[in-house]
Structure formats: structure tokens, C-alpha cells
């Protein structure tokens, strides 16, 4: 039998299913009113078959790649054959299929003539799910019990009847019940849209043909994924990178280690060798490690591969239990986003050896989380949460992007004016920093600085940054980027350097400065065309001193001194020798006690 029995019917079906997943996503953006969902797009929608295999995923957050099958499997294990038409299942417990507590999964089974044909699935990051810190996002919780309400697989509706106990529990345990309920309603609306449209397809195609087409769609993605993987070279590549610390055991670096094994049309990402799980809330569920692995691999595969079970089949992810890549009870995980971002850097490091022409140098390390909370002048509580990042490592063909979302999370930044209108915070600065990106034939994207002035009388300030101790690596001769930095009251007599992760009390007028890390460069900076260096100098992204020091280009008054440049480059070249390859880290890597 040919892989696709009816090519026209197949393409129409594929289109229709992807359209359903996208329409679910549009429904959520239309009906939610939380900024996390609308602006940060911290949600995903999907469509699974009756056995729980992923068939199509809506285009939203890479960090959710592959999380749905794990969650749905957990719900199926719990309820199995007791699932009936009109049920809606939900969960958020990372120890029962979830990812971290703010992400609530909602599944709706879809029946046709008594047969369970499919599940409509949604995940949304909710603004608050209770716990010790508003927003349920704190990095310094040390066990899951501090992080908020844990929902094991639960029927939110049974045969169409709402589970009032569950709704009451939710309303009682979260700080913003109106928002949480509205967003759950958005999830339900998306599932209803999916059900209606899928049943139209089944009516049209018949149940048997629909099941055949879903199988074919999975196989089709698997073929595309395997064909793309086959084009990559075979072999084994390992890479390690370090997280500064977990925000609890300050100054203790955390190791990420990955090995990619590629053979024929299969690829494996093995995180064995990564740190044992940590006390701070940056541990991953295995599904989140899968998501980071899938996303990194996806970046080096050619072609437009529909995201479904077939894509995952071609990729094997390994992570030993009890590590930061696969936590055990009572590990905390609310801020595991940080680990996901850093896993992308780590995985891309290994993939850069496999596919040197496709992979960028290390980015700024992913987003920094800044929370400022307290009481405003009217004694009303306020919570301001900002997640910010935006500089890519240099690529083998071009400079890194600057002022652009991370590849792992397509978040938008909040408007400065909206922030100031709504919170007792002023943003004093939001602009690029010169001389911080890794130099190279192609340079890293310029990182930016942000300054926050507190206007409330007092507030609690929590920062979750990284890459303050381990610089983003450069590739194939490109330089490492500059460290990230936090400081209080910059440019004053009271200026004070701060840890990468900390919580402290601040007063009205205090200013927090956060400088993103500079991403890595790619290729030998001594080979960067002097006119490109001049462009950066004119744009004040590189200083004249930086041009000499990092690129060996002598620029005076916006003009290149060609003779002096040649002489300086020759001198730097002789002093340095060949450009380091494949990595330039810029910081010593901690020695391993067991030499693993």
C-alpha cells in the first residue's frame, strides 16, 4: 500500500486538522483576557487521536512541544474507559503529566457514534495558581508544595456536568479567581470549536477513513522528520554548559550535559551527566526536557514538518530520574523556564558540531525574570512581573539578531508606557549596550539594558537572571559574549553589584539595572570586513576601542585606517595564533569531582 492512499483527500485532511489546531489557538487569544496568554502566547493547542497520540499542534509556544502526549497519557491512565462523552479532563501536577503548576491542561474527548475518535487539547499558563508567591512563578521555592495548587488528573466536567467541587477549590486557592476562571473558559471554548469542526470532518469522511487519515498523517510527519534527519551526518557529540546557580544555593554552579547520537534516520538527545536535581525551583519535568530537545533539533531540520506523534517518533530523549532534567518529588519547578532556555543553548552547542553550517552561537541565555511586588499608596497589593531577553548568537551566515524573542519562546515585551501606567515602577532605560556581544566574522546580537525605578514606598524585588558567571559561548573562532549583570542604583555613590538571582527589599527611588548577557560570535573576528565593523562603530554598537581590541580594525573619526588595520590584525593574529575552535567559552568550566 502506498504511504498515502489518496493524496488529495490526505492534503485536505491535513489542512483541515492543522486549521482546527490554529483556530483553537485563535479562540484562546480572542477570549482570554490575560496578558500572559495574549501577549506572551504562553499557551498551546492540539488535537490528538482517540488513543492520545498527537495529530496536530497549533502554532504557539515551542516550550510546549511534546508535552501534550505526556499529560494526556497521565489522564488516560487515570480514567481510561470511564471517559464518556461530555467529560472534560484537566490537570497541572508536574508529577502527573504536567510541566509546572501555572500550566493547566484541559482535554475534551470527542465521540462519534459512541466511538472515542479524538481529544481536543489545550494548555494555558494561568496568571496565578496560588502558592507562597504571587504569580506562582518563584525561583526560590524548594519543594512543589510551596508552589501552588496541584491538580492531579481530574474530571472538570462529567458527562456535561461541571465538577463544582473542583471549581470551588480552584477559586479558593488562587489569587485571581476571575482571571483564572475566564482563561479556563477560553480553553473550554477552544475545545468546543475543535469538537464541532472535527465532527464535520468525520461526517464527511466516515469514521474508518478518518482513522486511516490520522494514521497516515502521523506516518507522513515521521517520514519527513526521518528524511530531514538522514541529511545530517552520523556520529556522537557532547556538550556541557553551566547555570550560575539555583537562587537558593548561591554560587553553586549547575551542570547541563547533553550527548547527541545520530545514526541514519534516528537521533537521540541524552542528558545523562546533567546535575542532580537542585533545591531551587528550576528543575524540569522529563516532558520539558523533551520539549527543549525537540525544539533544538527542529532548528536544524529542513522543511516544514507538521508537529505530531510522527515527528517525536524519530527522536529519542533520555534523562535520568533525579536530575535537573527529570526531577523527582518533592522537586520544585515553577521557574524551570530558565533551565529550558539554557538547555537550548547547551543542545545547540552539541548540534553546532554536528551541523556547523546551521547553528548559531549561544544566545543571551533566555529570559530574565524580574518581579516587583508590594503595596501601593492606596494599600492595594501590586505585582509587576517582567520576563525579558532578546539577543541571538551570531549565525554561520549572519550577525545574531538583536531585540528579538528567544527561539524557545516567542514572547512579546510589555509596553513601557503600559507598565508605568499600571505599576509603581518607572522604566528609565531600555536600549542596546555597546561592546557586549561576542565578536566574530559575524557578531552576536547586541544585548540590551533595562533600568527599573521603584516608585512605591517599599517593595520586594526578586530577580532570576543567569549567565552572570558563565558567558555565552562563541563558535568557530567567534568570541564569547559578555556577562549578564545586575546592579542597584547605578551611577550613584550607592551603586551596588547584585547576585544573578536574589530577593531583596527596596525603597522608593531605588533603581535596578539589569544588563543581558552578550551572545556569542561566529567565525574569526579578524576576518570581519572592516566596513562592517565601521558600520557598528557608526551605529555605536561597537566603540572605536572595541573595534581595535576585538576586531583589529583601526577607525578614527568614522574612517578606516587601512594600513593601521592590516598592521594591527597581523599583530593580533601572531599573538593569538589560530582562532580557537569550535568553542570559545571565555570562562573556565568548573572541574567535575567525579570526572564524569
Amino acid at each position: 500500500m502506498p504511504p498515502i492512499s489518496d493524496p488529495v483527500a490526505f492534503e485536505l485532511f491535513k489542512n483541515a486538522l492543522i486549521a482546527i489546531a490554529d483556530e483553537m489557538a485563535l479562540t484562546i487569544t480572542r477570549t482570554t483576557y490575560s496578558g500572559v496568554l495574549k501577549d506572551n502566547m504562553d499557551f498551546s493547542t492540539a488535537f490528538c487521536d482517540g488513543e492520545g497520540r498527537l495529530i496536530a499542534q497549533g502554532l504557539t509556544l515551542p516550550g510546549h512541544l511534546g508535552s501534550l502526549p505526556t499529560a494526556l497519557k497521565s489522564a488516560l491512565d487515570r480514567f481510561g474507559d470511564t471517559i464518556v462523552d461530555g467529560d472534560v479532563l484537566c490537570l497541572n501536577d508536574p508529577y502527573a503529566g504536567g510541566m509546572h503548576l501555572p500550566d493547566i491542561f484541559v482535554f475534551k474527548p470527542i465521540f462519534y457514534e459512541g466511538q472515542r475518535m479524538a481529544f481536543a487539547a489545550t494548555i494555558c499558563h494561568h496568571t496565578d495558581v496560588g502558592g507562597r508567591v504571587a504569580g506562582s512563578n518563584a525561583a526560590d521555592s524548594t519543594e512543589i508544595y510551596q508552589e501552588g495548587l496541584r491538580i492531579p488528573p481530574t474530571k472538570l466536567y462529567s458527562a456535561g456536568q461541571p465538577n463544582e467541587t473542583m471549581f470551588d477549590l480552584l477559586r479558593t486557592n488562587v489569587r485571581l479567581p476571575v482571571q483564572v476562571e475566564a482563561d479556563l473558559r477560553a480553553q473550554l471554548a477552544a475545545c468546543h470549536i475543535a469538537e464541532r469542526q472535527f465532527l464535520e470532518i468525520v461526517e464527511d469522511q466516515g469514521a474508518d477513513q478518518t482513522i486511516t487519515l490520522m494514521d497516515e498523517l502521523i506516518n507522513y510527519s515521521e517520514r519527513l522528520a526521518r528524511a530531514a534527519i538522514s541529511k545530517l551526518p552520523d556520529g556522537e557529540w557532547s556538550f556541557e554548559d553551566w547555570i550560575d546557580d539555583d537562587g537558593v544555593d548561591l554560587g553553586t554552579p549547575i551542570r547541563l550535559f547533553v550527548t547527541f547520537k545520530k545514526s541514519g534516520d534516528r537521533i537521540q538527545a541524552d542528558w545523562t551527566g546533567s546535575n542532580p536535581q537542585v533545591r531551587g525551583a528550576i528543575n524540569n519535568t522529563f516532558s520539558f526536557t523533551q520539549a527543549a530537545s525537540y525544539c533544538a533539533i527542529r532548528c536544524v531540520l529542513d522543511g516544514d514538518i507538521p508537529t505530531n506523534e510522527g515527528f517525536f517518533r524519530a527522536i529519542d530523549v533520555v534523562a535520568p530520574l533525579g536530575t535537573i532534567a527529570n526531577m523527582e518529588l518533592p522537586g520544585a519547578c515553577a521557574a524551570r523556564g530558565l533551565t529550558g532556555f539554557r538547555m537550548i543553548d547547551c543542545a545547540l552547542g552539541a548540534l553546532a558540531m554536528m551541523a556547523p553550517d546551521k547553528v548559531m552561537a549561544a544566545s543571551d541565555g533566555g529570559n530574565t525574570g524580574i518581579s516587583i511586588g508590594g503595596w501601593d499608596a492606596d494599600r492595594k497589593p501590586f505585582v509587576y512581573v517582567d520576563f525579558t531577553c532578546g539577543a541571538w548568537g551570531a549565525r554561520p551566515w549572519a550577525d545574531g539578531l538583536e531585540g528579538n524573542a528567544n527561539i524557545f519562546s516567542n514572547m512579546a515585551s510589555q509596553s513601557v508606557e503600559i507598565t508605568e501606567a499600571e505599576h509603581p515602577v518607572e522604566i528609565l532605560r531600555y536600549e542596546f549596550l555597546a561592546d557586549r556581544a561576542g565578536a566574530g566574522l559575524y557578531r552576536g546580537g547586541a544585548p540590551f539594558a533595562r533600568e527599573y525605578r521603584i516608585t512605591a514606598d517599599t517593595a520586594s524585588l526578586q530577580v532570576r537572571a543567569d549567565r552572570a558567571n558563565f558567558r555565552p559561548y562563541g563558535l568557530y573562532g567567534g568570541g564569547a559574549g559578555h556577562h549578564a549583570r545586575n546592579a542597584l542604583n547605578p551611577g550613584t555613590a550607592n551603586e551596588q553589584d547584585l547576585e544573578p538571582k536574589f530577593t531583596m527589599d527596596v525603597q522608593a527611588g531605588d533603581v535596578l539595572l539589569h544588563e543581558l548577557a552578550g551572545p556569542g560570535g561566529w567565525g574569526d573576528p579578524l576576518e570581519r570586513p572592516p566596513v562592517d565593523v565601521l558600520d557598528d562603530v557608526v551605529d555605536e554598537l561597537v566603540s572605536e576601542a572595541g573595534a581595535r581590541r576585538d576586531y583589529g580594525v583601526v577607525i578614527n573619526g568614522h574612517a578606516i585606517d587601512a594600513a593601521a588595520t592590516n598592521a594591527l590584525r597581523a599583530k593580533l593574529q601572531a599573538k593569538r595564533g589560530p582562532a580557537p575552535t569550535p568553542f570559545t567559552r571565555g570562562d573556565a568550566v568548573p572541574a567535575l569531582e567525579d570526572g564524569a
Binding site: 502506498p2 504511504p3 498515502i4 493524496p7 488529495v8 490526505f10 492534503e11 485536505l12 491535513k14 489542512n15 486549521a19 490554529d22 483556530e23 485563535l26 479562540t27 487569544t29 480572542r30 483576557y33 490575560s34 501577549d39 502554532l59 504557539t60 476571575v178 482571571q179 475566564a182 473558559r185 471554548a189 517520514r223 519527513l224 528524511a227 525544539c295 532548528c299 522543511g303 546551521k358 548559531m360 549565525r395 551566515w397 539578531l401 538583536e402 531585540g403 528579538n404 527561539i407 516567542n410 514572547m411 512579546a412 515585551s413 509596553s415 513601557v416 508606557e417 503600559i418 508605568e420 501606567a421 518607572e426 532605560r429 531600555y430 536600549e431 542596546f432 540590551f448 533600568e451 551605529d539
Partner: protein, 691 residues
């Protein structure tokens, strides 16, 4: 205004379309090649020819309405002004950092569009205003003078000013405006609070910069066009179509060209809206399909749905409405158009997984489809239409361009049918169905995003390929009526004739309603109204021909997005509750629920729209133009029905209802009615109605 003929002029990259509508609905159309070096020339010359053909003179022209692509082309081709930008110290990179959001996932090769003002031309000045409009740091006038002089020394053509929190207090921008007039009188400039006095610094900055970027280009173009028209003794008023679907006089467009960027496609939607009404269709999906793209918009209850923001100058094709950032943000009222890269030139190909794909790559106008015989060797949607017998091998446009059926068959057989194991006709038929599915996905997205069910609406199909795909599109969307207007290929020009003058004004005034000062709100609203009325009066609209409407954007405090509600009459302290209630009702309509009365409602932006109501133009009479290619040919309608003898008609053959299959061939388009569909022409509008 002595003349009685209204003129619509729409410019495309290849053709300039001119439509003349006279007394009793007399209609005359003319398609001429665009003069790419100076678009105005083709208009002036084409108009002279068109007038001559219709036996008219310049004195017969009542007014000219123009859909211009000059602004969008300047952005697409990066041929706008050299702009300098002055911002607040600490915020040099607002324009380049944007919202961070990108339109693609997993794509390490993604490149951001380069900012329209490079960093070297972005300067900042010490000043600071807080969110409540209080001056925290006074503007440093000396530093400002230095900044302006530096930009002038760098040879900028225009200077934009956008300061943080200026929406709350424009004093510093006003001071800079005065300083610019003094120190750089020869340089065009605009301040953000004159362009868009609304909250959100990136959108306001970007909109202001785009306005500056196209200001000199649009100004020069309109000057040249008006000079040409006046040399040709055409002294009728010239107005421009805005992205919103409303007209604006040429001098206003020259001042705020940011409003005419999506001028081109708007005309078709407005025309569709106008023609659907006498057909008793108040809700339609307009569907405009040409050679490379298809565009759709939603008209609900006689009103086109509007978007609040456009992305301009990026990749023409938006992959998904979920992802943004492909172009430059422009916050102006615009008809909400969904665009998809599917047209007659879209390439049909087989992917690595063995599935048939259509586009997004297009053979374009050159080399074009295989059948054009201009070197195209990849099968396209047009080739499929030809193979299926839907298109006349003798060619369109009265046989200007014959089509090579045998070449199309051979290539389609080898590159599509054989690899998939399908018969030639089933492969071609399948390609069409997939093209329809691709387009449907994009159109559905607009309707879903709006929470609208398109099934009760009619599909209004135009553009060179619109009526050829209209019925299949309607079926795919669950709709059961298709309207194909007269002159479908020139319909965007035709639609301009039915547009009305329209202007939008807004100002952010952030107040929680429960403790707001109603007199302050009333004063701000009234000021916007005065602005609207002054503009309308200047254009000759007064009394009953003025329609001025208030709306307000509100949200529950803590929400990140607003909803807009209508408001009638003055507002006073006693009426604030009613405004909150109107918002609550709208919230319930959009989201399906509303918060309790205790939840504070926050006003964000006050808006006023002003419309000038002109005489309604007559409807066009049925076109008399016929290609004269009557007869019949074999056409294929899928595996079940197979090849059927299909009559080929002209529009006027449909005076009484007729059952499909049939094909209507015209000067500029082909309309297909498959078996089982009945079609007839509507006398009043000249439109073909399929049902």
C-alpha cells in the same frame, strides 16, 4: 463640480485600472500598463484615453477617487525618506527592539526587517514625563538643538519625534516641533502626538516614523499627479482611499500619508459592501483572488471589519494570524484583510513526504504558468484550470494571450499526476481543491478571530481569478451564495466610486470610570469632534452630510487589551455608569461573560470618526462588453461527474436563471458555475449571483 462622471483609479504593479461611472449607471472601464517610473503618468494618459473612448471630456468628470500603492511601494522597496528620529534619553532603540515578537518558529534564519531609521540617525534628548503627564525632567532645549543640528548635518529628509509618555502630555513634543520649525525649516517633520496620541511607545513611534518615511514620496507623487491632471484640464477634486476604506482629500493624504498605506485593496471591499446591499446581502466575505495572492475581508451588517494595526512592508504573505512582527507596525484604522499566497500563478508541487502542495511559491507574471509559453516549466493553478477546461485555450482578455494546453498537460502529467499515481484530470482537480483549502484556512482565521460564523454570509468574488474559484470557496466555507460583480478584474477601481469620506481621531485618556472627572472626558471627546468637524467642513460637508460618531476603548482594570464601544451624545457624571454598562455588554458579547459591577472599568482611549456623506452613486448597468466566444467545451468536474459538455456564455446570457454547469467568459475574468448550481444576473447591479 460640473461633471457627472465619477472616476475610480486603482494602481497595481502591472496595470492601472480606470473605471468611469456616469449618469444612469453607464459604465466604462480601461486597463492600461502602469508607468513604473512615474505612476502618475499612466493615470493622466489612461484617463485621457478612457474619456475619449467614452466620448467624454475633462469637463465631464465630477471627481476622482484613487487607490494608490505609492506609500506601500516606498516601504516595500525601501525607497522612502532618510528619516532621523528624536527620542527620550535611555530609549534610543524603541524602534528596533519593537515588541520582540517574530513571525516564525524554529527558524534560525529569520531576519528582522531593518529599522526604517538606522541607529546612527536615532538620537535622544534629556527629558522625562511620567505616566500621569507630570514633567519629571524638563526638556533640555540646548541638547535638543544639538540633536537637531546633528541630524540635519547628516542629511536627513525628515525628522520624527516620539517621546516616552508623550500621550499623557505632549508639551515636550510640542516644544521640539517649534524648535524644528526654527532650526530645520526645510526638513519635513512630525511629532508622535500629532500622528497617534495614544499609549504604547513602540506602536506610536513606528507609526510616526512610517509617516515620515513616506511623507516626501507621497507628497511628490500627489503633486505630480495633480499637476498632470490640471494640465489635462481635469480640475475635479482628487481624493485618496485610506486603509480604513474611507476617502480623504489629496492634501490631507499628503499631510498624513500613513493612513493610505493599504489604500489599494480597500477599494474592492468597499465596492463589495456597496453592491451587496441592493442584493439584500448585508453580511459578506469579500474574496479577491489574482495571480499571486488572494485577499479576504469580512463585512458584517454592512460594515467592513476593521483592524487596529497593520504590519507593513514585510513579507507579503502572513503565514498565520497568530504570529506577528514580519513588517513595521502602523497603528491606523484599516480594513482587516486576510492575505494568502495563492493565485493563478501558484506552483503545484510534491513534498518530501509525498503530499501535493500548492504555493506559496508563485510563477508570477514572468515566466508565469506553463501555458503562457514564456518559459515557465513548473505546473501552476492556472495550468490546472486550463486542463480542466475552465479556461479558454484561446486565452483571456479577448484572446490577447493564447494558452498552450498541450504544454500544460504534458508538464502536469509528468510532475504531478504520474508521481502521485493519479489521472491527469484528477491531479488537476485535486490541485484546485487543495488551493481552495489553503485559502479557506486563512479566511476562516479572520472569521474565527472575530468569533463570526461565515455560513450565513454570501461570498463576493472578484479579481482575475475570484469568480473562477468563488463557488468552490463558498462550498468550503459552508456558504451557499456567490456574487460576481461586473468587471471583476477591475473591481478594486470600481469599488472606489462607492467610498465615502472618513476620518478617525483618537486620544488616550486613561481614567478609572468610577472616579473619573466626566467633564474632562467630555472636553477631550468634544475636542476630537471639533477636529473632525473642521476637517469635514473644509471638504465641503456640513449639516446633514456630516456624520460624527464617538467611541471609547475600555477594559477591566488589569486586562491588557481593550474593547471599543459606541457612545451617543455628551457624557456627564450621571452617565459614566451607562458607559461602564455598555462596556460590560460588549464584554459579554465578545467573551461570553462579564465581571460583576464591583470590577473597576478603565477608560483607555477616546475616539471620534467623522464621515462625509456624499450622493450615492448610481449602480452600474450590466456590462455590454462581450468576448463573443460563445459555444461549449468539455470541462471536468471530479471523479463522480467526469467530463461534461459545458456551455460558454457571456454575462448578458444570464438574464434568466440558468443551471450549471456553465462558464461565463469576460474581458477580464472567467466565472465558473459547476453542475447543480444555478446562476442569473441581477438587473440592478449587473452582478452574477450563483446559488
Amino acid at each position: 463640480m460640473s461633471g457627472e462622471w465619477r472616476i475610480g483609479v486603482d494602481i497595481g504593479g502591472t496595470f492601472t485600472d480606470i473605471v468611469l461611472l456616469g449618469p444612469e449607471g453607464r459604465l466604462s472601464v480601461r486597463k492600461v500598463s502602469s508607468s513604473v517610473d512615474d505612476y502618475a503618468r499612466a493615470i493622466v494618459e489612461g484617463l485621457a484615453v478612457a474619456l475619449d473612448e467614452a466620448g467624454l471630456t475633462a469637463a465631464d468628470v465630477a471627481d476622482i477617487r484613487h487607490g494608490a500603492t505609492v506609500a506601500s511601494n516606498a516601504i516595500l522597496e525601501r525607497k522612502g525618506a532618510r528619516v532621523g528620529l528624536i527620542g527620550t534619553v535611555g530609549f534610543r532603540d524603541v524602534l528596533e527592539i519593537r515588541t520582540l515578537r517574530m513571525p516564525r518558529l524554529y527558524d534560525l534564519a529569520w531576519e528582522k526587517p531593518k529599522p526604517l531609521v538606522p541607529r546612527r540617525l536615532r538620537v535622544t534628548v534629556p527629558e522625562r514625563i511620567d505616566a500621569n503627564g507630570a514633567i519629571v525632567t524638563p526638556l533640555d532645549m540646548e541638547a535638543a538643538a544639538v540633536a537637531i543640528d546633528a541630524l540635519v548635518a547628516k542629511g536627513v529628509d525628515a525628522i520624527a519625534v516620539a517621546l516616552i509618555n508623550a500621550y499623557a502630555n505632549p508639551a515636550h513634543e510640542q516644544a521640539l516641533k517649534a524648535l524644528l520649525a526654527e532650526r530645520a525649516p526645510g526638513v519635513a517633520s512630525c511629532i508622535s502626538t500629532d500622528v497617534l496620541p495614544e499609549i504604547r511607545e513602540y506602536e506610536r513611534t513606528s507609526t510616526t516614523v512610517v509617516n515620515c518615511y513616506v511623507l516626501p514620496v507621497v507628497g511628490a507623487y500627489l503633486k505630480s499627479l495633480q499637476a498632470g491632471l490640471s494640465a489635462a484640464k481635469v480640475d475635479a477634486p482628487l481624493s485618496l482611499m485610506q486603509s480604513s476604506g474611507g476617502l480623504t482629500p489629496a492634501d490631507a493624504a499628503a499631510r498624513l500619508p500613513v493612513h493610505i498605506i493599504e489604500s489599494g485593496p480597500a477599494g474592492g471591499v468597499v465596492g463589495a459592501q456597496a453592491l451587496a446591499e441592493p442584493l439584500g446581502e448585508s453580511s459578506i466575505v469579500s474574496f479577491d483572488m489574482g495571480g499571486t495572492t488572494a485577499k479576504a475581508a469580512l463585512v458584517i451588517d454592512g460594515r467592513a471589519e476593521r483592524a487596529e494595526e497593520l504590519q507593513v512592508g514585510g513579507e507579503a504573505i502572513q503565514a498565520s494570524r497568530l504570529l506577528t512582527g514580519q513588517g513595521y507596525s502602523v497603528k491606523t484604522r484599516a480594513i482587516d484583510l486576510a492575505e494568502v499566497g495563492a493565485g493563478g500563478g501558484s506552483i503545484v508541487w510534491i513534498d518530501a513526504g509525498g503530499a501535493m502542495q500548492i504555493g506559496p511559491e508563485s510563477a508570477g507574471a514572468s515566466p508565469g504558468p506553463v501555458a503562457y509559453g514564456m518559459g515557465g516549466d513548473r505546473p501552476t493553478v492556472t495550468d490546472a484550470n486550463l486542463i480542466l477546461g475552465y479556461l479558454n485555450p484561446a486565452g483571456l482578455a479577448g484572446g490577447d494571450r493564447p494558452l498552450d494546453l498541450e504544454a500544460a498537460r504534458a508538464v502536469f502529467q509528468a510532475k504531478v499526476a504520474d508521481p502521485l499515481g493519479l489521472s491527469l484530470e484528477d491531479a488537476a482537480f485535486g490541485a484546485r481543491r487543495i488551493a481552495v483549502a489553503n485559502m479557506m484556512r486563512t479566511i476562516r482565521a479572520v472569521t474565527v478571530e472575530r468569533g463570526r460564523d461565515p455560513r450565513s454570509a454570501a461570498l463576493f468574488a472578484f479579481g482575475g481569478n475570484g469568480p473562477l474559484f468563488g463557488w468552490d470557496m463558498a462550498m468550503a466555507l459552508g456558504m451557499n451564495r456567490v456574487i460576481a460583480p461586473p468587471a471583476p478584474g477591475l473591481f478594486s477601481a470600481f469599488g472606489l466610486i462607492y467610498a465615502e469620506v472618513e476620518h478617525h481621531y483618537g486620544r488616550t485618556l486613561r481614567r478609572v470610570l468610577a472616579n473619573a472627572d466626566a467633564s474632562e472626558i467630555e472636553a477631550a471627546w468634544a475636542a476630537l469632534e471639533t477636529e473632525a468637524i473642521d476637517q469635514l467642513v473644509a471638504e465641503g460637508f456640513s449639516g446633514p452630510t456630516q456624520s460624527v460618531k464617538r467611541t471609547a476603548s475600555l477594559r477591566y482594570k488589569g486586562q491588557t487589551h481593550e474593547l471599543e464601544v459606541d457612545w451617543t451624545g455628551p457624557i456627564s457624571a450621571g452617565k459614566l455608569d451607562a458607559l461602564a454598562e455598555a462596556f460590560g455588554e460588549e464584554h459579554a458579547r465578545v467573551y461570553g461573560h462579564r465581571a460583576g459591577a464591583a470590577e473597576p472599568v478603565e477608560l483607555i482611549t477616546l475616539r471620534v470618526s467623522g464621515r462625509g456623506l456624499g450622493d450615492r452613486p448610481p449602480l452600474a448597468r450590466a456590462s455590454d462588453r462581450s468576448t463573443g466566444t460563445h459555444g461549449a467545451r468539455q470541462a471536468y468536474f471530479g471523479p463522480k461527474l467526469g467530463w461534461l459538455e459545458t456551455p460558454v456564455l457571456s454575462r448578458k446570457d444570464l438574464v434568466s436563471s440558468r443551471k450549471g454547469p456553465f462558464i461565463v467568459e469576460e474581458y477580464d475574468a472567467t466565472c465558473l458555475a459547476p453542475p447543480g448550481v444555478s446562476g442569473e444576473i441581477n438587473d440592478a447591479t449587473g452582478a452574477i449571483v450563483l446559488r
